[in-house]
């Protein structure tokens, strides 16, 4: 059932199984499987998944609707237990939540009773950082994301794009080595999306962080990532991997779309997803 697409012109490395364990690699997923029990029946969601995320790398994961992308993310974060396989953060298997990993969803999950600034401070507060330092770091982060002057606004008074920027600031202010983003920009309009994608790429690349982005949006996947991993239908496996080489500065999402090979990648991945009208 699973066909590895190796015959395409673009580099396709197939499965990442068997990657050797190097402690420096931020994330290695090794033959992970995960199933749910529904009405006494076992429903496999993740079949056998292996992938890796290198330091400073942006990897996008795309897959057909309902292929268990969110289950994968929650399993990686230790929020869901896996059935088998290994997940290594910086070479180590961790019980519970990995430290130094930022997590962001489509829902901004801002706390309505806190101002933008206090929302951004949440993680620093939990870590017990002194208030004055937490405030100044959070303000700087908001400024970097173009939210200068909105620090004291409550989420209900901010637009969808701004709220998602606050959520991004809340993730980045903790200076995570790895960011796990699950459809973070899916609910934004095209203009806001492009702007926040560009800012994300810039902040992630400048900080030498790694980013694993789960998305439906093939264009988003290609324009942001160094590598796109295409997942199969459930039970999920890696169907194909593309190294995205656009030959340009990778922090401008419009320039990415203008580059010569952009639409070639998009078309290949679209074909891989094997989308049919239901």
């Amino acid at each position: 059932m699973i066909v590895k697409t190796n015959s395409v012109g673009v580099t396709s490395t197939g499965s990442m199984a068997g990657t050797s364990i190097v402690p420096a690699i931020p994330l290695i997923v090794d033959h992970v499987a995960k199933s749910y029990e529904v009405d006494g029946k076992i429903v496999p969601v993740i079949g056998d998944l292996s992938l890796s995320l290198n330091k400073g790398e942006i990897v996008s994961i795309v897959g057909p609707s309902g292929c268990g992308k969110t289950t994968l993310l929650n399993t990686l974060c230790g929020l869901l237990p896996r059935d088998s396989g290994h997940i290594r953060w910086y070479g180590q298997e961790i019980a519970g939540q990995p430290q130094n990993v930022g997590y962001m969803l489509q829902k901004d999950l801002l706390l309505p009773w806190r101002t933008a600034l206090n929302n951004v401070m949440l993680g620093l507060e939990i870590r017990g950082m002194a208030t004055s330092e937490a405030v100044s770091r959070s303000r700087t982060m908001l400024d970097q994301l173009g939210l200068h002057g909105f620090a004291d606004h409550y989420p209900s008074t901010l637009s969808g794009g701004m709220r998602q920027r606050v959520a991004l600031a809340r993730t980045l202010v903790n200076e995570p080595g790895v960011l796990l983003l699950d459809e973070p920009f899916a609910s934004l309009d095209f203009q806001n999306k492009l702007l926040i994608e560009s800012d994300t790429a810039k902040l992630v690349r400048e900080g030498g962080r790694s980013l694993l982005l789960i998305t439906h949006d093939i264009e988003e996947a290609v324009s942001l990532a160094d590598r796109v991993i295409v997942l199969s239908k459930r039970p999920t496996q890696v169907k194909a991997v593309y190294n995205i080489e656009l030959g340009i500065e990778r922090t401008d999402m419009m320039a990415s779309r203008d580059s010569r090979d952009f639409s070639k990648y998009v078309r290949r991945i679209w074909a891989d997803l094997d989308v049919v009208l239901q």
Partner: protein, 211 residues
């Protein structure tokens, strides 16, 4: 001032005249609808009181059984004059407010703390439901035996009638907190107590105040 502004607006953009007049018309319609409802309610009340007064004025037995509006208002006036109305209102109000405060405080506290342990909340659930479905008035005799007829028994009664409601509301608020929100807190490294204090408590309290 309004006409001044209207004139100015009209002189700049005459087309706004139409929407402005429409808005005024709509406001007028709304006001009229409210007035009609209020007038009908007042008329209905007057009719009921009149009927009651009429029936009890002519019949001594009915007046004994049902009271009469004029006698009630008369007694109210007498109580107001001798000061007992204010004293009694104060005492009843105090009992009610004390009970309301104590009941809400403890109910909310217990409800929120039940979030902490799924096991404990499962164990106590049927007891809470059973307690909640007892009419509090049925406990009145026991409460009077325990606490006498003074202030404490009344406060206990009003506390009991509030505590279960507050408990159930705050517990529902606490377990209704978005699972993704809790996951986010966990990925930020929050302990269970931090999740409770920074997320569950404020979330359910804003929930309660909204209800």
């Amino acid at each position: 001032m309004t006409t001044d502004m209207e004139n100015r607006i009209n002189s700049i953009i005459p087309e706004t005249e139409q929407p402005l007049r429409l808005a005024t018309k709509r406001r007028w319609h709304k006001l009229r609808a409210i007035t009609v409802v209020l007038a009908t309610q007042v008329t209905l009340l007057a009719l009921l009181l009149g009927f009651w007064e009429h029936m009890t004025a002519s019949d001594k037995q009915a007046a004994f059984m049902f009271g009469s509006p004029s006698a009630i208002f008369g007694f109210l006036g007498q109580m107001a004059r001798d000061g007992s109305l204010w004293r009694d209102t104060y005492v009843t109000g105090l009992e009610t407010l004390l009970g309301f405060g104590i009941g809400n405080l403890f109910g909310t506290l217990i409800g929120l703390l039940l979030w902490y342990s799924r096991f404990v909340s499962r164990v106590v659930e049927p007891f809470v439901i059973a307690l909640g479905s007892i009419p509090i008035i049925a406990l009145a005799p026991i409460i009077i035996i325990w606490f006498g007829t003074g202030l404490i028994s009344k406060v206990a009664m009003s506390t009991l009638s509030v505590v279960i409601v507050a408990l159930v509301t705050s517990y529902k608020g606490a377990i209704g907190v978005d699972a993704d929100q809790i996951n986010l807190m966990r990925t930020l490294g929050a302990s269970k107590f931090q999740i409770f204090r920074k997320l569950v408590v404020p979330a359910s309290l804003t929930d309660i105040s909204r209800d």
